[in-house]
């Protein structure tokens, strides 16, 4: 049999492969830039000081380069956000998949997905100018910048992600499992918790991981509403800077290219990238697991 390959076809295939590889190029670019600038930074500052110093004051006359205050800010706002979003998002997903009629589900789900495209700077506006004043009515001593209001708004923001992805996972559980359980006389709630949730657990976990990764990487809400002062505190009622807010603060100023202050934002970015990368890989593995199961 004769098999002739058209050279034009091969050129096109090569070009398309190149386009697909460009996404790998982006990752290499991110890792390369972050590592390159961080390497310059770590020539001046030891890794031990970076990980253990309790102060982050790179722009002061007496500079300290401890990432802990920024991490505590990120973890506190993320914690507040998750405390709100995980229970609410999960209950909503269960309601939509197990209780709601098809009509309600088909209306609410696109609406939730629409909400994920609301620009985050608008959520920042809400946090600073709507939610904080409301919280101050309940708690007059609350400072104008605080992690509580930023965290709550991030929580509201990630509810659509969590409920939508969890609902997909719950929906993917085959109907015959549900029917078997209902036929045995279990209520919808018992079916939901003892049959559907255990079968969809890796999908729900993937939704959680996605939500956590979003909350950690969220920038505008914390930069606007949580304050810019790096403080080592776990109290959500106080203002504190997060890793992302610090990057914004430095970028807004006029730091000369190549100075150590300029490099600190890449170190902060590297920290952020490593943390979210771990969560993303975990989420990807969980999602492929539940896709394979049925």
């Amino acid at each position: 049999m004769m098999r002739k390959r058209n050279p034009g076809e091969q050129i096109i295939e090569a070009l398309l492969l190149l386009a697909a590889l460009s996404s790998v190029g982006i990752t290499l670019g991110i890792v390369g830039v972050l590592l390159y600038e961080s390497a310059v930074f770590f020539r001046e500052v030891s890794v031990i000081e970076f990980l253990t110093d309790t102060q982050w004051t790179p722009l002061f006359a007496d500079p300290h380069y401890g990432i802990l205050p920024l991490l505590s800010g990120t973890m506190t706002t993320t914690g507040v956000a998750l405390a709100l979003a995980l229970p609410l998002g999960t209950i909503m997903a269960l309601y939509l998949s197990e209780y709601a009629s098809a009509g309600v589900r088909e209306t609410v789900k696109p609406f939730l997905e629409l909400l994920t495209s609301v620009p985050t700077v608008i959520f920042g506006y809400f946090a600073l100018l709507v939610v904080t004043p409301c919280l101050q009515l309940l708690w007059p001593a609350l400072p104008g910048f605080n992690m509580l209001s930023a965290g709550l708004v991030i929580g509201v923001m990630i509810i659509p992600y969590i409920s939508s992805v969890s609902e997909d996972a719950l929906h993917a559980v085959p109907a015959h499992l549900r029917e078997g359980s209902l036929a045995m006389g279990a209520t919808r709630m018992q079916t939901a918790f003892r049959v559907v949730v255990p079968s969809a657990v890796s999908g729900i976990a993937a939704a959680y991981v996605l939500g956590i990764s979003r909350a950690i990487g969220e920038t505008m809400v914390v930069a606007i509403a949580a304050g810019m002062q790096p403080t080592l505190t776990w109290n959500p009622l106080e203002p504190a800077a997060t890793v992302t807010a610090f990057i914004v603060q430095v970028s807004l100023g006029d730091l000369p290219h190549g100075s150590i202050g300029y490099q600190t934002i890449f170190v902060a970015g590297l920290t952020l990238f490593v943390v979210t990368f771990l969560f993303n890989v975990a989420g990807y593995m969980l999602r492929t697991r539940y896709h394979r199961k049925y």
Binding site: L16, L17, S117, I122, R188, S213, V248, V281
Partner: protein
Amino acid sequence: MTQDMHRLIAGNKRRDRFFGWAGLAAMVFAVTILLLLLVTLGLEGGRRLSWEFLTSYPSRVPERAGILPACVGTVLVMLVTAVTSVPLGVAAAVYLEEYAPKSRVTAVIEINIANLAGVPSIVYGLMALGLFVYPLHLGHSILTAGLTLTLLCLPVVIIVAREAIRTVPSGIREAAYALGATKWQTIRDHVLPYSTGGILTGVIIALSRAVGETAPLITIGALSFIAFLPSPPVTATPPFLSVRWLFDPFAVLPMQMFNWISRPQEAFHLNAAGAGLVLMLVTLAMNGLAYYIRYRSRRRIRW
């Protein structure tokens, strides 16, 4: 014995109903809060929205300030993003769906795209700062901003384009091959035209996210106080088209909004609400258009 059972069943049913109400309450609560926030924005921003607001330059006097440069900047940046991310993203999607062998390289590309979709947007900004702004000397320009948002959009465009291509039934491809079409002819003349609706929907949704991105543009040094417009793309002298605007400094809507929020004066907060409302309306309009295209293309094509 039977009484115990009746009690058990009644208890279970009560819990079941209670959980149903709890779920409904959670949903209504979350949706109401989100709606309330949007209504607040609409009411506050609506007070500031006017023709003057849309056509004025930023000013130190809040009542005279407007968003003209920010609107123009947003349109130009999105133009760069669309022109670069769409061909690249669709080409990558075609490769992954139609050509890619089941190999380790393909698996790496796929995991990589899934991971990129979850990288915080500010990290893309840092990469652009460390690559486009200084080593490539593109500066704080419209081109840099557009390319930065391309990095952000690309994974999303690839993912949605792949989904759209996957919905084309294999019978269509087989029919084309049976008539002697080559692989690329099949893709160009059959697969891509059938998936255009889906791809377009995804591209518009990806761009609607990029419109509101603020953090990566802050890191590449976008200005928020710009009292002039970029150079015009059309000139009076030959060759009539100019690309100088690509290298001009710029402002975009979300940056302008952020700048106004960060000021202490209340009057500027009202301006921020106005800019936010415009931004919100643009995002909603783009999403509406995307849904409409999806609806139409689904109605037109029946397999």
